[in-house]
Symmetry: C2
Subunit: 215 residues, 2 copies
């Protein structure tokens, strides 16, 4: 396993949803409250979007500081990239992250609708119509020997899990119920046939970290 | 805090000793059994001395994989470097780590006895007769903007804590009593006046991780 495929800092509700229903420009996580699900990560010193020098450096920071360690490319679903569905109306949407996206590597966006690549700062977005294994081959090639991050959303993570392509998986389970939305799993136990797992409650962040690695 | 001073993966017994008594070439940790104290780390995929592709990738691996992240130099006490005491009889001793030391940065060894610098692979050892603050200045300068690791042993960590120079501290407390030796602390609580702390039991390694960061 020289180039791992890693899911990191992925947040789900206690009933297994990575996002709520009705995703839109105003509500990227649909009816889910991102403040509630992401607060454990936003409180850490190494949260990629942090702009000040504060933040905690305890357990939760080990997870956020691992976000970019030895990562050479990211794969994400189109629903993580933006709120549009179907053919692109135009190419004005450049992602949620402004002029300085936190990836700093090539990013492969899975979509059935072609679009030219573009670059923001040191992140280049490519748009790929491919099955998970083919997309992973492309990302590995671009990663220059480093690992590949699988960024989500839940549907995309599920597809790569079903294709047995995921090597490590960190999921933070938040103490909120969503009832409906994009489902990652029915239960955190359903991966135990293929993965080892550590379950680690965050001392201050309110979430429970689930850490999986291949058997 | 642009260049942190970090203590990482430092192991102590439940009664606060980082090493036992009677350190020697044959017993680098004196009467302490390093197998007992280090097994949680040695079981992980990212243990720096690991030579195969196995190992766990759960919680404990986050600690070992953080060993080299953003580290530009290490400071260690002479008792970590080798079993000799007093003036150097010769310069044949090159450390415990063989031809490929796991540091890959400049290493500053604190000693009152001067000795020329030498290089093994991509690690250069310098020998410094200086107080903690001066040694830290030299290490920071050599670290090229990155953090500095304080490698131990217990007496050295204690000196830097007493000089209030440590920014983050990860101590793994092992379920063994040593009774005597090189003491880090009387109690893990004695740092709480100056540090925040998370206490996180290892799910499988038998130790309890104590994570401190400056208030």
């Amino acid at each position: 396993m020289s180039q791992l495929l890693r899911v990191q800092n992925f947040m789900v509700s206690s009933d297994g949803f990575g996002a709520g229903e009705g995703q839109s420009l105003e509500r990227p996580f649909g009816h889910a409250d991102p403040g509630e699900m992401f607060s454990w990560a936003g409180a850490t010193a190494s949260w990629p979007m942090r702009t000040d020098s504060g933040g905690s450096r305890g357990l939760d920071d080990y997870f956020t500081r691992d976000f970019s360690r030895n990562i050479g490319a990211e794969i994400m679903g189109r629903n993580k990239f933006g709120p549009q569905r179907g053919p692109w109306q135009d190419h004005e949407w450049l992602g949620w992250w402004g002029d300085e996206p936190p990836f700093h590597t090539p990013v492969f966006v899975l979509t059935h609708h072609p679009r030219p690549s573009f670059t923001l700062s040191d992140t280049t977005f490519h748009f790929v119509d491919a099955d998970p294994a083919t997309a992973l081959d492309r990302a590995r090639e671009a990663a220059g020997g480093k690992d590949v991050r699988l960024g989500g959303g839940a549907t995309t993570v599920r597809e790569f899990l079903d294709a047995d392509l995921v090597d490590t998986l960190h999921v933070a389970v938040a103490p909120v119920k969503l009832g409906s939305g994009a489902r990652l799993w029915e239960s955190p136990d359903e991966l135990l046939d293929r993965f080892h797992r550590d379950v680690v409650p965050s001392p201050s962040g309110g979430v429970i970290h689930h850490l999986y690695w291949r058997k």
